[in-house]
């Protein structure tokens, strides 16, 4: 494979890149919505991600996963924005209208809004691990690559995230709107330093 380091890609490969980028936007929006509570902020984050991805398109290797590549960018943008305290942890109540149909083995339906609120109280690194594996359908190995950490670490984070959410749901301690979001925000800031260290390495590759 030849690499043109002199600058512009050919029109074809730019078009390919853009097509692939367009295809992952819905997934970027879903990941971002899971990370931050508000839909408008999540979409801002995705737009920022798209611009960064476009600017860095020469570094994307065709044939590799565009979704994984852009998730790394989105994740970094999110952590940077969290540092600047841009996300206030406000919750988008439009999701509260949606009610999850009860799974076969469960008597009581879970409100998606409750689940999302519970998710937002998790430390950032556990929340993203659970989102990647439990919602985005990434393997542990892929999630580890995205987060720039070991596979065992991802497994542990997913396990802890699931345990916490299960306990909250079963004990009925899913936080109410505002208090829970503040708790979520605090938790996020607490763990931010640890998370961003491994994450930057992954992004700079």
């Amino acid at each position: 494979m030849s690499k043109d380091r002199s600058g512009d890609r050919s029109g074809d490969s730019s078009a390919d890149f853009k097509r692939e980028l367009t295809q992952v936007i819905p997934h970027l929006r879903a990941f971002a919505r899971g990370l931050c509570g508000r839909a408008d902020m999540a979409d801002d984050l995705v737009q920022e991600t798209l611009l960064k991805a476009w600017a860095a398109r020469d570094r994307f290797e065709p044939g590799t996963s565009m979704r994984a590549w852009t998730f790394v960018i989105l994740r970094n943008a999110y952590l940077t924005d969290m540092r600047r305290n841009r996300f206030r942890g406000e919750y988008d109540e439009t999701l509260a209208e949606r009610i999850l149909t009860a799974p076969a083995d469960q008597e009581e339906p879970i409100h998606l809004a409750d689940l999302h609120r519970a998710l937002l109280t998790l430390p950032a690194e556990r929340r993203e691990a659970l989102l990647l594996v439990g919602a985005g359908g990434f393997s542990y190995e892929e999630a580890a690559q995205i987060c720039g950490c070991a596979v065992g670490t991802i497994k542990s984070r997913v396990g802890r995230a699931r345990a916490t959410l299960s306990a909250m749901i079963e004990d009925g301690t899913v936080p109410q709107r505002s208090s829970g979001d503040k708790a979520a925000h605090r938790a996020i800031l607490q763990e931010l330093d640890q998370v961003s260290t491994g994450n930057r390495k992954a992004a700079m590759r």
């Binding site: 997934h27 737009q47 949606r98 689940l115 998710l119 659970l130 396990g159 699931r162 749901i169």
Partner: protein
């Protein structure tokens, strides 16, 4: 659902540590909700702001 099954499910979810070490983690009952939360956003129509942004990318690439 029988009481026995319910108890089993509760007991299982309280001991996640054992599951973690096995590598194969059992998905809790709300796991489908998490996927649904994600999929519900994936299936949303793309807001115009993204189409605008994509068209601006075209210009920037030329």
């Amino acid at each position: 659902m029988s009481e026995a099954r319910k108890d089993h499910r509760k007991a299982a979810s309280k001991q996640p540590g054992d599951k973690e070490r096995n590598g194969e983690q059992r998905e809790p009952g709300w796991a489908a909700g998490l996927k649904k939360l994600y999929d519900s956003v994936v299936e949303e129509p793309l807001p115009d702001a993204f189409k605008d942004l994509l068209s601006r990318l075209d210009d920037a690439g030329k």
